[in-house]
């Protein structure tokens, strides 16, 4: 008998019907993978299970008993532990406290900091995380914050563990640690719900699957009896081409050359170049310093030493405006805070880097703005009713497309992508990859930072591997194998 | 452009009586006197004022009175100069403007009714200080209101002028309590720390005087340092009884309101300020060439009479 069953769950937000007929069953000791396109309603289901949202209709049964989960506290009492997709991290609190918010260890009613720190350190050690439980969470990178969130899900002996895209910003090694722990928990009788857009992981960790499309369940079963193609067909409703849409490059002269670039405490002595028509992949573990490097190239931070050349000319990228003038664009890894202005419409977001082009004499024209937006929504196939939709209301993948589109519209020479396909579904991922390919064929260059090894191997012409702020290896497409890349990224 | 249509019919004469700010016991007493005079003369008093004692606030209040086409305005000014343009406009529109208590510059009014002359006030306060200092000699200090307060500054200047008559007294410091309790209190404490041999603290504003008295009491200096100045009997009766403020001076605000209203009504009825103007029960007042008329010497209150006036104002 399933441990937890959801039947015929419905949920709408205003006019949006997020779930129409969701069904799911979780079994003790098994890992169930929940898959579906962006916006299929997976996270909404998670929020219903964790007491953040209430279903409009439907029933939840725990061990055969109908339950109402009307508060996050209540979910916790029922033994449901959740790792949310959104960042649920308190920058102002320490790592340890972050892991225990809402459920702090107490001694005679008072918060016991000692116990909290000890238990936090234990869990972090299991996850092989190197950061200090006493460090303020705000000082960590996006990926490290995600680790905190996962750690929070693991602090308690949960009967149901739900993880909504826990691996989206993790690299190979962290994923391994996480899977090790998950297997241990599941062996101890815990039911696990695992949500991911990466099929390798799904097949690696899960026993069962459940597929959502447009808010309704469209299939479930044993993974062993299924295939990747079949899952994709269930998800999307049609087959999706599996191979990376990469066509042979036409390499030109170097567009950007970086020499001996250093920034104290972040990265040291980085040298590389990118040529016209080339996609340079940068791989590394969480905390390798890739994001910092990209931020320096884009003028968000300054380098302490070293030089940057664009088109053979030495440039001092001291501000974003200068970088943009040199034809550099940067799609940040955190689209929610750095990439998009969530309460603004798609059109307004697209307009942001193109203000001058859209209003050459200063006067704004809503018409030109909509025109540009329509064009790119069409090109990148952003799923939306119209360009006046607020970005907040889009699913993750579509948000990502908007962020990429706003920079493509600017027609840059060098596009830096930081985790470009983080959290987006197969279809959208393919669309983004196709855009990258077309982009370099117009004689431009792409620098792609990614923790997704298949993506790195599949899309890059050359692969730069970073570890602890230094370049460890540079592979050509032919030399690169997953073993070699992982070894360069981790090996001491 | 300034010819507004005359209000229709025979209406009682309306006088706008403007206080420095509302919620001030002194002006409540002025209001009382004004109502008394208006009742006798069949006029109507509109008592108003800004929330905080600022010139800008008073201008808003004056604009409202001008729009109502009152017959006369009597104002106690927060700033002698800033009100002038507005009051000039009032006069252009046929409103008789006088100031009382705290003067407006001559261009902005027909006459000013001083409760007492600045000179008399300065002298009275100097005399009080001399009486309170042991053997008429010692150090005195002043807790003023804001540095921009006109009548405070005028009285202070007169006080300085009167001091040479009392060679034993030396004015060691002037501090500003900004007419707020906590700052006045703090400044007074600082005064006695800075000048441990201080004999008399003078404050010419109610808020300042009350705060200074409390500060001296709390510092345990009652009997050693005396406090005096200008204040209302109702506010100071307690301190007179416990000897912190053995005596203080003030003119009668009820009479002031009464007189101001009398004059305003008479001017509105067409009398001229060039001639002596009657104030009925208070006699007549004569305005000098600069339009200033004074009522008399401030009255001194002490343990013998404070109980009687405490209930009145």
């Amino acid at each position: 008998m399933p441990f937890l069953t959801l039947s015929h769950i419905q949920k709408s937000f205003g006019g949006t019907r997020a779930l129409t007929d969701a069904n799911l069953s979780l079994h003790a000791g098994q890992v169930t993978a929940l898959i579906g396109e962006n916006g299929a309603g997976k996270s909404t289901l998670v929020k219903i299970l964790s007491g953040v949202h209430q279903p409009d209709a439907g029933e939840i049964q725990l061990e055969g008993q109908a339950v109402r989960i009307d508060h996050p506290e209540h979910a916790r009492e029922l033994g449901i532990s959740v790792v949310h997709q959104e960042s649920v991290v308190f920058d102002n609190l320490s790592v340890a406290e972050n892991m225990f918010v809402g459920d702090r260890p107490r001694e005679r009613g008072w918060v016991s900091w000692r116990t909290m720190r000890q238990r936090a350190a234990e869990v972090l050690k299991q996850l092989d995380a190197t950061f200090d439980p006493d460090a303020p969470a705000g000082s960590l990178s996006i990926a490290q914050k995600h680790v905190i969130q996962i750690a929070r899900g693991l602090t308690r002996r949960a009967r149901v563990l739900i993880m909504d895209e826990p691996t989206a910003s993790l690299a190979h090694r962290e994923v391994e640690e996480l899977f090790g722990l998950t297997r241990k928990l599941s062996a101890a009788g815990c039911s696990v719900l695992f949500i991911s857009h990466k099929f390798e992981e799904v097949f690696d960790i899960a026993n069962r699957y459940s597929v959502f499309r447009d808010g309704a369940s469209v299939g479930e079963g044993e993974l062993a009896a299924s295939s990747r193609d079949e899952l994709i067909r269930l998800m999307v409703g049609r087959p999706v081409e599996q191979l990376f849409p990469k066509t042979p490059p036409e390499l030109g002269e170097p567009l950007m050359r970086v020499e001996h670039l250093s920034r104290t405490g972040e990265f040291q002595d980085i040298s590389f170049d990118v040529r016209r028509g080339e996609i340079l992949g940068i791989y590394g573990l969480v905390g390798a310093g890739r994001t910092e490097l990209a931020q320096v190239l884009f003028g968000l931070e300054s380098a302490d030493s070293g030089s940057i050349e664009v088109c053979g000319r030495r440039v001092a990228v001291k501000s974003v405006q200068e970088a943009v003038r040199e034809g550099i664009a940067y799609v940040p890894e955190d689209r929610q805070t750095q990439g998009a202005i969530l309460p603004f419409s798609i059109a307004s977001n697209l307009a942001l880097p193109n203000l001058t082009a859209l209003a050459p004499r200063g006067w704004w024209s809503a018409q030109r703005e909509t025109q540009l937006a329509d064009e790119w929504v069409e090109t990148l196939k952003v799923k939306t009713a119209n360009t006046a939709t607020v970005v907040q209301d889009l699913s993750g993948g579509n948000q990502q497309k908007v962020v990429i589109a706003k920079w493509l519209a600017r027609k840059p020479k060098i596009l830096i992508l930081d985790e470009p396909t983080k959290g987006i579904d197969v279809g959208a991922k393919r669309a983004v990859h196709a855009v990258m390919d077309q982009f370099v064929h117009r004689g431009c260059a792409v620098i792609m930072i990614s923790s997704d090894l298949p993506e790195i191997l599949g899309m890059s012409d050359r692969i730069l591997v970073m570890r602890r702020g230094r370049v460890r290896a540079l592979f050509t497409r032919e030399e690169a194998t997953s073993e070699a890349v992982i070894r360069a990224a981790t090996d001491a | 452009a300034d010819k507004a249509p005359e209000p229709q019919g025979e209406q009682p004469i309306r006088i706008g009586l403007v206080a420095k700010s509302l919620g001030n016991g002194f002006f409540d007493a002025v209001h009382k006197g004004a109502d008394e005079a208006a009742g006798a003369l069949g006029a109507q008093v509109i008592f108003t004022g800004p929330t905080t004692p600022t010139a800008e606030g008073q201008i808003e209040v004056l604009n409202a009175l001008i729009a109502q086409r009152v017959d006369a305005i009597a104002v106690s000014a927060n700033d002698p100069d800033a009100l002038v343009p507005t009051l000039k406009r009032a006069m252009q529109r046929g409103i008789e403007v006088i100031s009382y208590d705290s003067a407006v510059a001559p261009e902005g009014r027909i006459a000013h009714l001083a409760p007492s002359s600045d000179e008399l006030i300065g002298q009275t306060v100097a005399q009080l200080a001399a009486e309170l200092a042991p053997n008429g000699a010692g150090k005195i200090a002043v807790v003023s209101a804001t540095p921009t307060s006109t009548n405070q500054n005028a009285w202070l200047a007169e006080l300085r002028k009167a001091l040479p008559q009392y060679p034993g007294l030396s004015l060691v410091s002037v501090v500003y309590g900004d007419d707020v309790s906590d700052k006045s209190y703090r400044e007074t404490v600082a005064l006695v720390k800075q000048h441990p041999d201080l004999n008399v603290v003078i404050s010419l504003s109610s808020v300042g005087l009350v705060a200074a008295a409390k500060a001296i009491e709390d510092q345990g200096l009652g009997g050693k340092v005396h406090v005096t100045g200008l204040g209302l009997p109702s506010e100071l009766a307690g301190y007179v009884r416990n000897g912190i403020v053995p005596k203080f001076a003030i003119w009668n605000p009820i009479d002031l309101g009464y007189a101001a209203t009398q004059i305003a009504v008479r001017l509105a009825r067409g009398e001229s300020a060039q001639q002596p103007v009657s104030m009925e029960r208070l006699g007549t007042v004569t305005f000098d060439t600069s339009g200033i008329g004074a009522m008399g010497k401030p009255f001194i209150y002490d343990a013998s009479n404070v109980a009687e006036f405490e209930k009145v104002f």
Binding site: V52, H71, P72, E73, R76, H84, E86, V88, V89, F90, D91, N92, L93, S94, V95, A96, V101, G102, R104, R106, W110, V111, W113, R117, P133, A135, P136, G138, S139, G265, Q295, L300, E301, T337 | L22, G23, G25, D28, T51, T52, P147, V174, V175, V180, S181, D182, Y185, R186, V189, K193, Q194, V207, V210, K214, S234, E235, A237, G238, R241, E310
Partner: protein, 324 residues
């Protein structure tokens, strides 16, 4: 103090040093300023500010702001002053309870509007600031309540002293200690920091940020109410305009003390230091013989220097995330 608070406590440390330096500078100009008796006076004089700032800190930590504290103080002060005038026999303890209750209710009104209707805190408290002031005028009909109308006990309570410090100082010390313990070791205290740091995330963790704001407003209001009694008893007078504009000093003390206006950050220690810093300046300036006309200017310079110095303490790393 553990390392998780390192950034904040480092700032407090820098600020503590600044405060001591200020004290030293004043003592050079006016040697007896550093005498225990004088420092006790400074603390007594700063106590009301400390109490109000501690309440305000809670409100700011939960992402609110309370511009109505001074008006709340004045209204609660007027209520107890009027009560005391009409019923001089009421003891001090009931008076304090009534003051706290009245302040708490006024605070709860702010809190409810912010919590239940999700109105912006600045708008709500700007509105109630005017309303509460107006109500004092209506209650008192613009008249003063004077010293001779207050009972002995009413006045004496705040003046009782024990080892040089009066009730005022002891209250501030006790409330600061309780505040420290509650904010560090109670679940509700930690929830306030969480709710202020990231309200959305707090909701996912089962904390209602609106409720936390409500609690903060009630506590801030109750403290303001008690301060209303303390103020009226200390200065022995109650009228409409008491503590007019004091809210800005309270907020300034919090901000100087390192409370982040964006919420989630602030410590009892920092706020007390911020208050003492202001207290020292305003007690010292009249003593060191600086012209009254220059006092405000110098006050502004010192405050700016302090905030600039402590703002510069930020880490260089990840500055883009802090560029808000």
């Amino acid at each position: 103090m553990n390392a998780s608070l390192s950034a904040a406590s480092r700032r407090d440390l820098v600020f503590g040093i600044l405060t001591v330096a200020l004290l030293a500078a004043v003592s050079v100009a006016f040697p007896s300023f550093a005498s225990p008796a004088n420092l006790a006076d400074v603390l007594n004089d700063t106590s009301i500010l400390i109490l109000l700032a501690l309440g305000q800190m809670l409100v700011i930590v939960t992402r609110g702001i309370d511009l109505s504290v001074a008006a709340n103080l004045a209204l609660s002060g007027m209520i107890v002053a009027l009560l005391n005038r009409s019923f001089p026999a009421i003891g001090v303890l009931p008076i304090i309870c009534i003051a706290a209750l009245s302040g708490g209710v006024l605070g709860a009104f702010n809190g409810l509007l912010v919590w239940k209707l999700r109105l912006p805190p600045i708008v709500v408290t700007l509105g109630t600031m005017s309303i509460y002031r107006g109500v004092i005028y209506l209650l008192s009909q613009g008249a003063w309540v004077n010293e001779n109308e207050m009972s002995r006990e009413f006045l004496r309570f705040v003046r009782w002293d024990f080892v040089e410090l009066t009730t005022l100082s002891w209250l501030a010390i006790v409330v600061a200690l309780l505040g420290f313990i509650a904010l560090r070791y109670s679940g509700a205290g930690r929830d306030m920091y969480a709710a202020g740091g990231n309200p959305t995330a707090a909701q996912y963790c089962g904390i209602d940020p609106g409720r936390m704001q409500f609690i903060a407003y009630v506590i801030s209001g109750a403290l303001a109410g008690v301060c209303g009694y303390l103020w009226v008893a200390r200065f022995a007078v109650a009228y409409t305009d008491i503590a007019l504009g004091f809210e800005l000093q309270v907020i300034a003390a919090c901000l100087i003390g390192g409370v982040a206006i964006a919420g989630g950050v602030g410590s009892v220690f920092g706020v007390v230091l911020g208050c003492l810093f202001i207290g020292i300046i305003r007690n010292a300036l009249p003593l060191v013989g600086i012209s009254a006309f220059w006092q405000m200017f110098i006050n502004g310079l010192v405050i700016l220097a302090a905030v600039l110095l402590s703002a510069r303490q930020r880490e260089r790393k990840r500055s883009i995330l802090e560029a808000v």
